[in-house]
Subunit: 205 residues, 2 copies
């Protein structure tokens, strides 16, 4: 029996260029919705509705909801990595770079990753979990590289650079705490306080 021609999916876009932009729109919409409501509460239908595409269009681009979640998370984390790289390479002074990085991350904490992962993990396969964790790990490695360099230049004291990177990332969770926007005048003000504590410590000199 000759194979029937594949039925064109409703809403399937015609051009490759268009494909990319629709794909991007779906990813960004999904990221925002997952971040706001968590994994389970968000349906593909809702994501489609929000960005004006049909559910079959989403399935044309992404095999499943867990797959879309994985792509949304890794895209978000890769963006954090790019911003981190840009900010730390741009400035001569480590402290300035860290303040700018902290300002960006406190304003938009990727912290919620842990919360989302906890909820989503049982729906994801091993490979999807690993890919998200690797994207997160790459941010730590990039930070650790800069810390390693600063140790070689005797700007930082000798310490496990990965430990410093993870500590720094953990401190960015200050951006998640309730009421913080009220208590600190701005993300910049909080960033300066956090970086200063990270570098100088709380001890009297």
């Amino acid at each position: 029996m000759p194979e029937k021609p594949a039925k064109r999916l409703r809403g399937r876009p015609k051009q490759a260029d268009n494909d990319i932009s629709i794909q991007q729109t779906i990813i960004y919409t999904a990221s925002a919705l997952f971040k706001e409501y968590g994994y389970e509460a968000v349906s593909l239908q809702q994501i489609g509705k929000q960005c004006g595409v049909s559910k079959p269009t989403i399935y044309y681009h992404f095999a499943s909801k867990p797959e879309l979640f994985k792509v949304a998370m890794t895209t978000m984390l890769n963006n954090v990595r790019k911003v981190t790289s840009h900010l730390l390479n741009e400035v001569d002074h480590l402290e300035h770079g860290l303040v700018r990085l902290a300002e960006a991350r406190l304003a938009n904490p990727h912290a919620e990753i842990e919360t989302m992962m906890r909820e989503a993990e049982s729906f994801l396969d091993e490979k999807q979990v690993r890919e998200i964790r690797e994207a997160e790990q790459q941010i730590h490695e990039l930070l650790a590289e800069h810390f390693r360099l600063a140790m070689d230049q005797q700007i930082l004291r000798e310490e496990d650079p990965m430990f410093l990177a993870e500590t720094f990332s953990t401190l960015m969770l200050m951006g998640n705490r309730e009421n913080n926007p009220q208590k600190y005048e701005s993300h910049l003000a909080l960033a300066q306080k956090v970086v200063s504590l990270f570098l100088q410590g709380a001890k009297a000199t």
Copy 2:
């Protein structure tokens, strides 16, 4: 019509003493289950089954699931506060107290509070949310008091003690990070590294 005698609830305990211990058991079981599976995934039936009491017995002690959640959370946070107070009062040296406190908190991060709250918040009323937040706030205030004292003694540099308390609590989230038990030999080893960074900072001297 004469009022019918109230039907005794199945499993309702007979003695006041017993009431207290059953109540405690329900609270601790609920805390453990909520912490493990989150708010929604845990049913009162499941809590009852785990501690060998009927659902009506739970309802005899707690008006509702949100109410039980609130009591479980505030009990847990009050315990963290008591342990904090005990550890910081027991030692002469701030650093030793902080290391012991960090060791205890890294081993049993109350961090997951934020995750649980995020999930549970839509089911709680304003008063319940406020009571949980206040119990958390009291831990910060206690820590801030000790930091204030250490500033007066010129052990710590002048800084907003509440900011230091919140930073210290945020650092305890290092206990939540994936793989940490593998990467650091023990909670004590991680506690020492974190407290040392908190006090001395990462900068070369």
